[in-house]
Symmetry: C2
Subunit: 107 residues, 2 copies
């Protein structure tokens, strides 16, 4: 249980906005409009939402949101997929599962 940095994960989770982003990304269709409107039909980034859509919902500056997403990615909570000029972020379920396990077994 050491490829996951628990402290960084908990830090990332201890902010309301970041927690919300994670929750919203559980159901992107429900929480974000215009799903993947920039992607051609044949491309699909399952569960991914671009920074702009997240920023609009979050209502913080573009730089702050970008920074937050990057933090969450470094913590392993999100993964980023770039398509053209867009970056799509989606949940990294593997890490989420690992934290649960970690809390249960080690904390």
């Amino acid at each position: 249980m050491d490829n996951l940095n628990v402290l960084d994960i908990f830090k990332a989770l201890s902010n309301e906005t970041r927690l919300n982003i994670l929750r919203w990304l559980r159901e992107p269709e429900k929480n974000f409009p215009a799903q993947q409107a920039h992607l051609p039909k044949e491309v699909s980034i399952e569960g991914g939402v671009c920074v702009g859509d997240i920023q609009e919902k979050v209502n913080l500056s573009q730089s702050t949101v970008s920074h937050y997403l990057s933090l969450m990615q470094k913590a392993g909570l999100l993964e980023a997929v770039r398509y053209g000029q867009w970056t799509y972020y989606r949940r990294n379920e593997e890490t989420l599962a690992k934290i649960t396990k970690f809390i249960n077994e080690e904390i």
Copy 2:
């Protein structure tokens, strides 16, 4: 899921010392010497360790440790039982169980 303040919990967990305290309190007998030496035989605070013992292990100032324990208690991660001049802190398993549930079901 609203009597638990998730943000305060994650904040409390995002510090190495505090995380360690929680882990050590899983097995107090193993991690702290002189278990409940101040208590008379007929009194037992199941799983509880007094501030002094925790402070010794943590190696931070008395005031810092006291502050940390209080933070964790307010977050619901620990509960405090006072006996005489000593305060015994022990894990609050209920909250721990709730966070796991929260992560699984809501995050």
